[in-house]
């Protein structure tokens, strides 16, 4: 199949691209960032997704499948810019995919869509509404992009739309929100709280995305691998040191003393869990993770030992 991947230069995009090439697919990549050692089989276009040039790529390459991974999840980007990239980018992907006659679009979203709160249940199911915005307004653009992608299910019934809500990624490339949060040797936590963190190995994440292409599943799916673990266990198993801080001190200390910088809303995600139920995805695709929670944490620890 001819498959177009947006955001292909990201670590996850690269893993997906390599897997798809290995399975014999033709690959077109779009990313603002260059991919210097891109494999020979991939047709790279260094264009901005939201510009005219990207539209041309869609039109000329006629992909059958579009995998949309060009979303910004790290919170360094200013929020208006994030909004433009995440929501605006998702919109043009669907419009371009439809215009060029693509059969299948996959939106790669995040499980943080559900939001963390004291009174939210473990194991969210797909039908639950997003609760992220009240506690964590910085995530509004990702929630909006997810919901926008979902509207394609009824707006374009002829197009197979897949919305994936992936748990955190952890693995030797050290990319992703969670991996960045625990990068330093000391990881701050909120005293008296120890939420579960749901994550899966980056290779399993890539495998799950490829599987949803092969199986051409339609609808909204949570994607997870092994069971979640408490933050304290995650910190210990990755060789870090936990620094429990009372909530008031926590805000003041972030970004100082070598602790990671986080927006204020992220605090709820360090106090309360987001755990998803991926039974529907497993049933639809037969997906089984290859690397368990201990393996993912071990590989991260070996790649990024705490100094």
């Amino acid at each position: 199949m001819r498959i177009l991947v947006t955001g292909v230069t990201g670590r996850l995009g690269q893993l997906v691209a390599r897997r798809l090439l290995e399975s014999g697919h033709e690959l077109i990549g779009i990313d603002r960032r260059p991919w210097d050692d891109a494999p020979a089989g991939i047709e790279m276009h260094s264009v901005d997704l939201r510009k005219r040039a990207a539209e041309d790529v869609f039109r000329k390459s006629h992909p059958q499948v579009v995998v949309h991974m060009a979303t910004v999840t790290h919170l360094i980007e200013r929020s208006e810019e994030r909004y433009r990239i995440n929501l605006g980018g998702t919109r043009v992907v669907f419009e371009n995919a439809r215009a060029c006659g693509a059969e299948h679009v996959i939106f790669v979203g995040r499980h943080t869509y559900y939001g963390a709160a004291a009174d939210s249940p473990l194991y969210h199911k797909e039908e639950e509404p997003p609760m992220a915005m009240t506690a964590f307004p910085e995530l509004a653009d990702l929630v909006a992009a997810d919901l926008y992608a979902c509207t394609a299910l009824w707006r374009y019934p002829e197009l197979c739309t897949t919305v994936l809500r992936m748990v955190y990624t952890l693995g030797p490339t050290g990319q992703g929100t969670l991996a960045t949060f625990i990068r330093g040797p000391h990881v701050p936590t909120v005293l008296g709280f120890d939420p579960l963190f749901h994550f899966m190995h980056e290779e399993d994440v890539a495998a799950a995305i490829c599987l949803s292409i092969e199986r051409r599943i339609r609808g909204v799916y949570n994607v997870s691998g092994p069971q979640p673990v408490p933050l304290s266990v995650l910190i210990r198993a990755t060789g870090r040191t936990q620094v429990p801080l009372p909530e008031l001190l926590f805000r003041a200390a972030l970004g100082r003393f070598g602790l990671p910088r986080l927006p204020p809303g992220a605090l709820t995600h360090i106090k309360f869990p987001i755990v998803v139920d991926s039974a529907a995805f497993r049933a639809a695709t037969g997906f089984q993770h290859q690397i368990d929670e201990a393996g993912a944490m071990g590989e991260y620890r070996d790649a990024f030992p705490a100094l």
């Binding site: 473990l122 194991y123 709280f193 120890d194 069971q227 673990v229 408490p230 929670e293």
Partner: protein, 279 residues
């Protein structure tokens, strides 16, 4: 092993049939270490501090889903704690009861951590359904916070029962095991509930005892389980149908409380607590 864990209890936790991973954590974040510490504390309360009369523990299913449904007997959660202890210490293999907790608990530091690590989650319908689908043992108090707020004089009464538990039991085909608990009101004789102070602290209310603080007295309590009750249906029936089932359960719980009261007043002797294994 931590100082606060009794090794015999840790060994018993090993026999709890939950899918713990190599870190000793199950898919809901229930941690062996925390359960062992919690049960070490409950062991003291269950076998030494309170005198617990127990009848009908064989009705608690050894495996598979189940919903223990009973009354609040006033004061703080002495009733819930003794139910959890009975399932752990007097059932073989030991079982971990998972009570459906009040929402405010998860907002507090430490309370949030301990309730989650010991499997006592906020009582949300989605949470309860997921736990039952995973063949867990739920502990439900359909009276809710209205029940814990009972004053001393109301300790052996039943207030309004919610109906969600019956619908959930029917939907998930779960047996309801009714229980009656007597003695919590004597342990924490509440003369008033300070709702204003509770609001200030972020809890529903603070029970006031004659000695002010809600510290329980070492009294005799009676816990009586009845035969499982199954209601067939989808859980989407009309309110009248469901309320009929709720009343059946409520009535049965009332009978079981009466049995407990009779034993407590010495008409019948319950199996003595503090047996050789746990003395």
């Amino acid at each position: 092993m931590s100082l606060l864990i009794d090794p015999a209890i840790a060994a018993r936790v090993d026999r709890v049939e939950l899918p713990f991973n190599r870190f000793g954590v199950d898919p809901y974040g229930v941690s062996k270490k925390h359960v062992a510490q919690f049960m070490t504390l409950l062991h003291y309360l269950y076998h030494h501090y309170f005198t617990v009369g127990l009848v009908g523990i064989e009705h608690v299913p050894a495996r598979g889903r189940g919903m223990l449904v009973g009354n609040h007997s006033g004061g703080v959660a002495v009733d819930g704690a003794m139910v959890l202890a009975s399932c752990f210490f007097d059932r073989d293999p030991p079982r971990l009861g998972q009570a459906m907790a009040e929402k405010f608990i998860a907002r507090f530091p430490f309370a949030s951590l301990w309730s989650n690590r010991t499997g006592q989650f906020t009582g949300l319908p989605e949470q309860a359904a997921h736990l039952l689908d995973d063949e867990r043992l739920l502990v439900v108090f359909p009276e809710g916070a209205r029940g814990t707020a009972k004053l001393y004089s109301d300790r052996n009464s039943l207030v309004h029962f919610g109906s969600g538990f019956v619908r959930l039991a029917m939907k998930t085909q779960t047996p309801i095991i009714p229980f009656g608990f007597v003695g919590g009101g004597e342990a924490v004789p509440t003369i008033a509930n300070a709702y204003g102070l509770g609001k200030l602290l972020g809890v529903p209310y603070v029970p006031i005892t004659p000695w002010l603080a809600p510290v329980p007295l070492p009294v005799r309590v009676e816990l009586t389980y009845g035969e499982p009750m199954m209601f067939s249906g989808t859980g989407n029936e009309e309110d009248e149908v469901i309320n009929g089932y709720v009343d059946q359960v409520k009535q049965r719980i009332g009978e079981l409380m009466k049995e407990g009261q009779r034993r407590k007043s010495g008409e019948a002797l319950a199996r003595p607590r503090g047996t050789e294994e746990w003395a």
